[in-house]
Symmetry: C2
Subunit: 610 residues, 2 copies
Amino acid sequence: MSDDSAFSLKRLLVGKPIPSSMAHHERLSRVTGLAVLSSDALSSVAYATDFILSTLIVAGIGAFSYAIPISLVIAALLAIVAFSYRQTIHAYPTGGGAYIVAKENIGATSGLIAAASLLVDYTLTVSVSISAGVLAITSAFPRLDVFRVEMCLLFLAILMVGNLRGIRESGRIFAVPTYFFVVAIGVLILTGLYKYLTGGVTPINAPLPSNAGHAPLTVFLLLTAFANGCTAMTGVEAVSNGVPAFRPPESKNASATLVAMAVLAIGMFVGITVLAHAYGVIPSVAESGVSQLGRAIFGGGTAYYLIQAATTLILVLAANTAYADFPRLASIVARDRYLPRQFMNQGDRLAFSNGILVLSVFAAILIIAFHGDTQRLLPLYMIGVFVSFTLSQAGMVIHWRKTKEAGWKTSALINGFGAVVTGIVLVIVTVTKTLEGAWIVLLLIPIIVALFKATSRHYDHVASQLTLRGYQPEPRAHNTVVMPIGGMQRAVVEALRYAETLSDDVRAVYVDIDPKATEQIRKDWETWGGRVTLVVLPSPYRSVMEPLLAYITQVETDQPADYVTVILPEFVPAKWWQHLLHNQSALLIKGALLFRPNTVVTSVPFHLER
Amino acid sequence: MSDDSAFSLKRLLVGKPIPSSMAHHERLSRVTGLAVLSSDALSSVAYATDFILSTLIVAGIGAFSYAIPISLVIAALLAIVAFSYRQTIHAYPTGGGAYIVAKENIGATSGLIAAASLLVDYTLTVSVSISAGVLAITSAFPRLDVFRVEMCLLFLAILMVGNLRGIRESGRIFAVPTYFFVVAIGVLILTGLYKYLTGGVTPINAPLPSNAGHAPLTVFLLLTAFANGCTAMTGVEAVSNGVPAFRPPESKNASATLVAMAVLAIGMFVGITVLAHAYGVIPSVAESGVSQLGRAIFGGGTAYYLIQAATTLILVLAANTAYADFPRLASIVARDRYLPRQFMNQGDRLAFSNGILVLSVFAAILIIAFHGDTQRLLPLYMIGVFVSFTLSQAGMVIHWRKTKEAGWKTSALINGFGAVVTGIVLVIVTVTKTLEGAWIVLLLIPIIVALFKATSRHYDHVASQLTLRGYQPEPRAHNTVVMPIGGMQRAVVEALRYAETLSDDVRAVYVDIDPKATEQIRKDWETWGGRVTLVVLPSPYRSVMEPLLAYITQVETDQPADYVTVILPEFVPAKWWQHLLHNQSALLIKGALLFRPNTVVTSVPFHLER
């Protein structure tokens, strides 16, 4: 791909389908790896600070002073978790997603809980990132806010179509929005700090939201603000999932990338939070905090619009990473038979397409249900993330205890600390967010796990019914072919000719409703019947199906050791809507015969030309 | 059916399925015929007056004095149309629906316009009657108004399920609500008049609706009120459609019934309108005019609740008649190949079930879209009715000119007058109602007619492709059977045994992706292969479908004069949801082979037990 076309928007969004065999050729350097794998983690700084502030505002603007200490605690947590994930990178150089780590070390159920959490998490990544990306647009152009949901769905549709066609995961393309965002936020923070320190900053004076007030500043409120800020930590695990995508030495490169990502995320998050406090940002559903900062610092010129563009781009890119992660995880889970085989990748893109469609449908439901409002979607977001964090870290502790590699105690200690810390955050998130909507996720995860297990149980049952051990097939030599006919026409004659090749015993069955029509059939039979026997069935009640099914039953009873093949002519229409106009009786007969053993229904296609 | 059970609510609503052969045994007397065929016409008096008044109110309460003259004009019209339809009864003793009369006398397109109008009209009959029936309930129990849409959908569901199971159209059952309603309204009108004439009536003082005001009393407003009142005329045609259902002499009995119906409808409509004026009724979405009259005249006691119950019952019954009319008309249109064959009745109830489902879905959409508000649904109602009235009467004029029976000139004059009068009303309805929502119907009717014609054209094309005239089937003797396999298990072995019965040339095709698995297949083949040849295909790109399809193409090319039969084992799961977990590759292969000539795909069922 040339560099020219690399920047063409169409290529970026829709791409050209590429053979999967090419995917292996392109390995990630540290620079492109950071761009490809960190958009989720870095982009969350676009909304994490807002989410802290919009909680604290309930206790009045005075409570905003708690934002900076809260952000520092979260920064420390982020460092701990990143450090903890470095262990995973080295232990699982083939990619250590939470599902694999939890399944291998804790047990199948834990793995499934992690997988369910991650699938929910990826869906929310799409909804949250897209709605936050749209908020960056509507902050700059408030008149577009009425189209908020429509714009979200448009981005979703573009991502879906692009991924269905196969976006080329070229590091160079992904590098553009990521580094654009890092540079834009970097310039924003530095300029903002400079202006603040040199004086001359007037508070933004954004309108207060309706719930702003003087509610008491309780511990619960602070914990809620803290839990909300932890959205900044989402996406940290991406690098550890993607280790095999790096150039050798994979683990070392991945580890360095993880550190770089953590440093950037912490720097941007704390920087934005400090600036938000300094400039008196009051985020709302109408304008994001970053947008307010941009206006205040750059006065709403080109620089401001560039920041908004960078924010939208990286958020859409973050949503796009979920489009790679969701089908990949679904494929791994399907390989273990916990999800239908449709999700299992077997060399073609089809399995991934199913994952992409499922992800899109659920993300769209979330966007519509929550009106594309980031602040209302975020409470659902963190439970899945922290369940998988905790299970993954806890799994690593058990891993070290099993392997007892050199230095395993230190490693176990690091991961154990990570597990405890993320576990505590999980408890805080659960307590503070359940009533804000997270109950949906708390309900969904066990339901999904139950579906996983039901699927697995079913495939087990099937395998036991399919085993050849001790199997003795009944000898069946003869095949009686029965073909119901309703009149003589080309499709019927062609199907008769086909039926003749199958057996020496072919019987065409006609139900006599109208004596005149029956006489005509008998006459036609002399011309077109060939060596097929015509059986005319009486029907005193003018029903067609009943005598027909009774006759087939009779054939089955007469020759119990035979196969019975029922031949039906089937129209293959030239246009899809014409399907509605044909093959109704064929469908009925098929349905009625579906559950009979040793009875095979064969449709002989007749192709309509228009 | 005993008289005891005749009054059981369950029997009334769900009934017992009966063989259609019994339907002919029970013919209608005049008394039962009136009950069965007039519920639509009579029930419309429950809302027609309201609809006049709620238009006039825009020009202030003073404009109400126009309601009585308007109702008298409509009464005269109703008499004219009824008189005109008596001609149809005598000319079409086998049932003269607008579709048949217009088609036979004017032309196919006119017939289709009439059919489309009637199908729309029947759908609206269901929505309007049910919502008006629910209004009778919520008028009595205003607290239930919040469940208006839910109650409408509940009635709709009951009617749908009842009709799907097959309501026994017993005149005795239908007689109860109809005569109950006639008696209830009769008593209401007589008592109301008596109380009014003997003095002592206080005006009702219902709250004025928000749009009540002093808008000028224009001609357009009067015409709108008139058009609205014409809802009282809906359903007049029912008797002429149902002539063959009467006891002999059919035409005479039907004619007498039509006269009785017209007299009752006119009497009740004018009576209610006069009373409404006398008592100062101000109908609203919260309380119907009849309910206000009932409260004022009977003081809200048992008599009042009986009137409301009678109103609800007859309206639900009117909706139920559409459940008989819609599938019957759809079946007639389908017999002429303008609708898919699924709607054509062929001795079983299935075709009617399709009509019932389609009617229910569209009625539900209307109820939900218009929030079950009768006043908002009514503007859509009349265009379909008056299109079919006009076409039917105009068709009769042509009928008389063709037949030139004794006295044909008088008959043509009567029908001609009817056609002109209903045509004028149609113009008034179109002009006054288009902007109130009737544009939907004006758009729908041509769309439906276009669909009718497209369907008919398609069936014609198919017939021309199926003709045996000049047809010379190519001689094909040999059948090559190809069976793709992905591994050895019972379902595969059973399908192999079946395949062996079809041809001497059976080839199992296995795509080699993993050399170890391929070796295992070769080994298994010695035990289970029988006389089937194993073909192993290489797949350098690890794709399964491509080599498979290429092989089948090769077989077709090698033996162009042969049939190719592709055998696929198919799992028949024990539970419906398990379908999601199976047969994906089979479906893919079927889809890929669907459009190949001389290639037949056969699924050999393997029944899963759990």
